[in-house]
């Protein structure tokens, strides 16, 4: 007897609205599908109506946690279109903030993994230590999560020597804690029992389904945009692409923990070699890039993020396309939910762990949709009108 078990759109494992449609026999999953149609926000359409400068702040809100990746990607695209030269100091600072964002994203992910398997102590401690990164972010950029730091032509604020020193010393303290979590991932029996061999995605499947980010790297695919397509100063900063071959959730956790450690070193390197100069090129408020198109790719904490922009010479883009890493990993997720490893089936208890392991972020684009039942017409209403109750 198989029963249909819908997980979501409201479920404690994930605050975002997404539905996993599972077919379950006893404790085993026999079939799976995913439905993400609950939260489409139409950001791509709205971006066509905003100027290039305004669009940056909307692109930032595509995803709260990886907002730095989105603004980096957006800014690079517009800078390439408009031919803006970014000062080198700004590139260093972009890298610093991007890696800080990666750190807090990965630590958030670790705590969520702990939460999913009911390990609340690790959840609390990882959240506690993540605060250190957020405090740094606030001091550098002015915002704890939404940074509004990258702008077209550079970054907004400078980092002086005292702050740079503070960042380095805080991260040194954090490093010890992160190493503690790494030890925990290696030693804690239950943590390992719940994550090893769970969410199996073979290397060949990871390539076939074009998985990105830690999901791909834990399956032995050494794909990291920072290494393949250096977009800031990644060709100067030494770092390792972390690859594990375990193909399971445990590997994904290890990839992320190791990346946090790599990030600390990258930030230190960039801050110690901060070149002198401006942090922002002069850019007019109304940018009118020449007609053309551009593709920018950024390694967001969740994986490869790709933005495509098309300009027709006006102050607004003709088309702005965003492909978020979660979308790229969705196909891999369905595959992981459906097939276990060899003779080991996927259990219901594994589903939240597998789902969490891709670090899902179902947000895509923001408009409120109102449907007028009486007239049967569809009218989209901007947030501003809804707020005022019109």
């Amino acid at each position: 007897m198989s029963i249909y078990l819908p997980i979501g759109p409201q479920h404690p494992v994930h605050p975002e609205a997404v539905q996993l449609k599972l077919k379950v026999e006893g404790e085993e999953v026999v079939d799976a599908d995913v439905d993400v149609s609950f939260v489409h926000r139409g950001i791509e359409k709205v971006l066509e109506t905003k100027t290039y400068v305004q669009g940056l702040f909307l692109a930032e809100r595509i995803c709260g946690i990886c907002n730095v990746a989105h603004t980096t990607c957006y800014a690079i695209n517009v800078e390439r279109l408009a031919g803006v030269e970014v000062p080198r100091r700004a590139l260093h600072l972009r890298l610093v903030v991007e890696e800080l964002a990666r750190m807090h994203s990965h630590m958030l992910w670790l705590s969520l993994l702990a939460h999913v398997i009911g390990f609340d102590s690790l959840f609390m401690l990882a959240q506690r230590d993540r605060e250190l990164v957020l405090d740094l972010m606030e001091e550098i950029t002015g915002g704890r999560v939404i940074t509004s730091y990258n702008v077209i032509g550079g970054v907004r604020r400078n980092v002086d020597a005292a702050l740079a020193q503070k960042i380095i010393s805080t991260l040194d303290g954090l490093r010890k804690r992160v190493l503690e979590y790494k030890r925990l991932l290696g030693e804690d029996a239950i943590l390992r029992a719940r994550t090893e061999d769970v969410g199996y995605l073979s290397s060949s499947k990871a390539v076939e389904l074009s998985a990105v980010g830690p999901v791909a790297r834990a399956s032995g695919v050494p794909y990291d945009v920072r290494e393949c397509d250096p977009y800031l100063i990644h060709d100067e900063v030494p770092f390792n692409v972390v690859v594990y071959n375990t193909c399971d959730v445990w590997g994904r956790a290890m990839v992320r923990i190791d990346e946090v450690l790599e990030s600390i070193e990258m930030i230190r390197y960039a801050l110690e070699r901060l070149p002198e100069g401006d942090v922002r090129a002069k850019v007019p408020l109304l940018i009118k890039p020449p007609p053309g198109e551009s593709v920018a790719r950024v390694e967001a904490p969740r994986g490869e993020l790709i933005h495509y922009v098309r300009s027709d010479g006006s102050e607004k883009p003709v088309r702005y396309k965003v492909r978020t890493p979660t979308l790229a990993n969705l196909a891999a997720l369905v595959e992981m939910l459906k097939t276990g490893r060899k003779d080991r089936p996927v259990y219901v208890a594994d589903v939240p762990v597998i789902f969490a392991s891709i670090d899902p972020c179902i947000c895509c684009a923001a408009r409120v949709l109102l449907i007028d039942e009486k007239r049967g017409s569809v009218k989209e209403v901007g947030m501003d009108e809804v707020v005022r109750g019109e």
Partner: protein, 155 residues
């Protein structure tokens, strides 16, 4: 699986695409570091993508649909080191193009998105169904088309 076995030089990619497609290649250019843009007509879109796959590109970044005013464009972004954008031109009154899901299974969700947002029909796609828009969305209304206007668009 070790390393990434893809062509690393833009010129090489361009050269080999020219060999594979010949006259069908309407436009081809290198746009900056690690960026190659090629344009084909819709009959040769699949051929170009297959040629890339045979060249060693095993990674598909995204499939973008664009409403370019008088026509649609479907762009497949392929490649890890060199990002190759294969652009196919699709007439508006006959918005159909061959699916590449069998070449790159990752195109599954991307083509569904382009179909939903722009109404471009991908022939051969195994499951062209609603994914992103709500169930109550009226069929035949494609929000990313230029003629679709928003209620509160500001000047």
């Amino acid at each position: 699986m070790s390393g990434i076995e893809e062509p690393v030089s833009e010129e090489e990619v361009l050269q080999r695409l020219k060999e594979a497609l010949g006259e069908a290649l309407l436009d081809a250019r290198i746009a900056g570091k690690r960026r190659v843009f090629v344009t084909v007509d819709r009959e040769h879109y699949r051929t170009a993508v297959v040629a890339l796959k045979e060249m060693g590109f095993d990674f598909l970044s995204a499939v973008t649909g664009v409403d370019a005013g008088d026509r649609f464009e479907v762009i497949a972004h392929v490649g890890r080191r060199v990002s190759v954008a294969v652009k196919a031109l699709v007439p508006k009154d006959d918005a159909r193009i061959a699916s590449i899901v069998d070449v790159y299974p990752a195109a599954f969700f991307y083509e569904r998105e382009a179909w939903e947002m722009l109404g471009i029909h991908f022939e051969g796609h195994p499951k062209l169904e609603r994914t992103f828009l709500p169930e109550s969305w009226p069929p035949g209304v494609y929000p990313l088309r230029k003629e679709y206007r928003q209620g509160s668009e500001r000047g």
